[in-house]
């Protein structure tokens, strides 16, 4: 007769084994199905379709999704395969494992938006030494020798455009303030810099300073609320990214100053469009992620074909006010292709 505790243990094993393994089977099945459609046989072989991978900075972000849409469309047009990957957060520790796995996968070319200008150098060097053609999209690393081409918005110009738009909105006078993301992010820092420099050309506008929100809307709200308390006569705010704009809009709403204090944001995702419509935002500066994706794929394919590429390509930035939502709809970002 089997002693009881052992029998109990045996019953347990049945339970435990069946569930995770069933789950695993489901996951692998999903993996197999998902994989089958996008990748053919071994990559990089003679006569096969070119394999490209786009590694974005953040997987669930309309900017990068739109970039992926542009890249997808262009890949289809040029007859190459494209796979899109991205980390859960905009951070190097989460992006590097993905970069390494892509390197192991050996596609012909990679489009990447590096999340840190230092930390990604080594993984991208390994990628290059594995024979993978690399194109930088949106952001860059400090080593310019790796990518054959870098496509990005001219963020400093974006800051200028934002400054001009905000100046117009506030009647070219009064106090303005910048809510920025984190120090050290090349894109948002360039936007702030462009904004601040442009405002120096407007003698009646006083720049009262900038704060960082750690890319968290609630922190942006706190900072903007505090600034409103300090400067009750604040005329305008430039928020350097979506989250900063969201936080700032919340603070203005709480203070009952929506529309009185003009708010200019960056990017043109569905959320910003909604905010433009309901008046929380007065204007945004839109990038062209779709074009960045398209051009990235073009440059990668050119490099693979041995054609010359352009080292630096800057895409346009477009100011959009609520009234222009219809006329400039092609600049709005998508949450799916």
């Amino acid at each position: 007769m089997t002693p009881r505790p052992i029998r109990a243990a045996a019953g347990l094993t049945k339970m435990k084994s069946s569930r995770p393994i069933a789950l695993l089977a489901a996951v692998l099945l999903a993996a197999a199905c998902g994989g089958a459609g996008e990748t053919g046989a071994g990559p990089g072989q003679e006569g096969e379709r070119r394999q490209l991978t786009l590694i974005t900075g953040l997987k669930s972000d309309e900017f990068y999704i739109t970039m992926g849409c542009g890249a997808m469309a262009e890949a289809k047009k040029l007859g190459v395969d494209l796979d899109v990957q991205g980390p859960e957060d905009f951070s190097a520790p989460l992006q590097i494992p993905i970069v390494n796995s892509v390197t192991a996968q050996q596609p012909d070319a990679v489009l990447i938006a590096p999340t840190d200008r230092n930390a990604l150098i080594q993984p991208m060097r390994q990628m290059k030494s594995a024979g993978i053609t690399t194109v930088q999209v949106d952001t860059t690393i400090d080593d310019p020798s790796i990518a054959v081409s870098s496509i990005a918005s001219n963020n400093e110009q974006g800051g200028q455009v934002a400054a001009q738009t905000l100046a117009e909105l506030v009647g070219d006078k009064g106090k303005v303030y910048v809510i920025n993301v984190k120090p050290g992010i090349s894109t948002t820092d360039a936007r702030a810099e462009g904004f601040i420099n442009e405002m120096k050309k407007h003698p009646d506008i006083a720049f009262v300073g900038q704060d960082y929100d750690e890319d968290q809307a609630d922190i942006a709200t706190q900072k903007v609320s505090a600034t409103l308390a300090k400067h009750p006569d604040l005329a305008g705010i430039f928020a350097t990214n979506l989250i900063a704009a969201e936080g700032a809009a919340t603070a203005l709403k709480a203070a009952g100053k929506t529309g009185d204090v003009k708010l200019v944001g960056f990017d043109a995702g569905p959320k910003q469009v909604e905010d433009l419509r309901n008046g929380s935002l007065q204007a945004v500066v839109a990038q062209e992620p779709y074009a960045i994706g398209q051009i990235g794929v073009q440059q990668a394919v050119k490099a693979l074909n041995g054609e010359p590429t352009r080292k630096q390509i800057q895409t346009n930035l477009v100011p959009i006010t609520a009234k222009e939502l219809e006329s400039k709809s092609r600049y709005l970002y998508k949450s799916e292709c």
Binding site: M1, P3, R4, P5, I6, A8, A9, A10, L12, T13, M15, K16, S17, R19, P20, I21, L23, L24, V27, L28, A30, A31, A32, G34, G35, G42, K59, S60, D83, V84, Q85, G86, P87, E88, D89, F90, S91, A92, P93, L94, P97, I98, N100, S101, V102, T103, A104, Q105, Q106, D116, N118, A119, I121, Q122, K182, P183, G184, Y212, E214, D215
Partner: protein
Amino acid sequence: MDRPAETDPRPVAARADLEGEPEAGAGETLLSRTLRANSLWIFLVLVVLVLGFSVARPQAFLSPFNIQSIFTNAATLLVVSVGMTYVIVSAGIDLSVGSVLVFSGVVAAKTMTGIGGQDSGWGPIVIGLVVGLLGGLAWGITNGILVAKAHIPPLIVTLGTLGMALGSAQIITGGTDVRNVPVQLTAVLGQGRLLGVIPWLVVIAVVVTIVGGLVLATTRFGRYTYAIGSNTEAARRAGIAVDRHLLKVYALSGLLAGLAGDLSLAYFTTTTIGGHTTDNLSAIAAVVLGGTSLFGGVGTMFGTVVGVFIPAVLGSGFVIIGVQPFWQSVAVGAVLVAAVFVDQWRRRARENR
């Protein structure tokens, strides 16, 4: 006044049988122990994953580069998870590890750049690494004192130090990542390899894991950790200095987070201040995936290793076979919930006896 005479629900005959057959029990000891271990099943999950990805894309998944990448990328999380295993086995929790990691990386980097600069030799680097370890230890001791002596629940204590450590790191750096880390550090510790094959990061993580596993499984320190997690009052009455032991456990977790901060600094060549906000949850998930009970008293280091590698393998494998990145979160989350479900189911089964 009389108590119910019979609280043992089994019929007398069954009980007699049970006590009359010790050999049967003794003979199945190893088997029963293996079957009882949650980690065995989760290990099989890992094996199946590895086999699945290997069959799907052998050249890519099993390439030396990919295997090395998986290990290197898991190294810092593994070190943190070793400390977390002790904390969770003692029925505690440490949410502060990611922030302590960042803090340690920052103080280490600041020390190195302050006294040596980017081209500094090993002197300033070693001093910086030690400062990083001490920084982690200091936060660990802070956690330990607040948990063991002030009797504040560990969830609250470490939630507090999570914010304090990260905030301190940001105060020290002004929010900007320290980037001019000595080249020697990143070249040797971050990218260098033992005998040109095994990355130093992996060597260090493996040594920490083996030592941590042996101490947990074979020493009095480990035994006390299990006993306290299982029944704190029983441990206290058995004469175990519970408060002092808990202090040591949290100090260990802090120290290992400090070590992970050093490793992370060497690997990423920058302090990655914003990149560790979910490290605490990753470590807790790894430990729990590995069969360690959130209620304490149960768990193995082997399970934790498996728990660290399941997300790592899934992440790498999914990228290689070209699956949408969202699936990874779904898969890891599902396995985690299943693991905790099994743990609770098991406990309920036991308590109903």
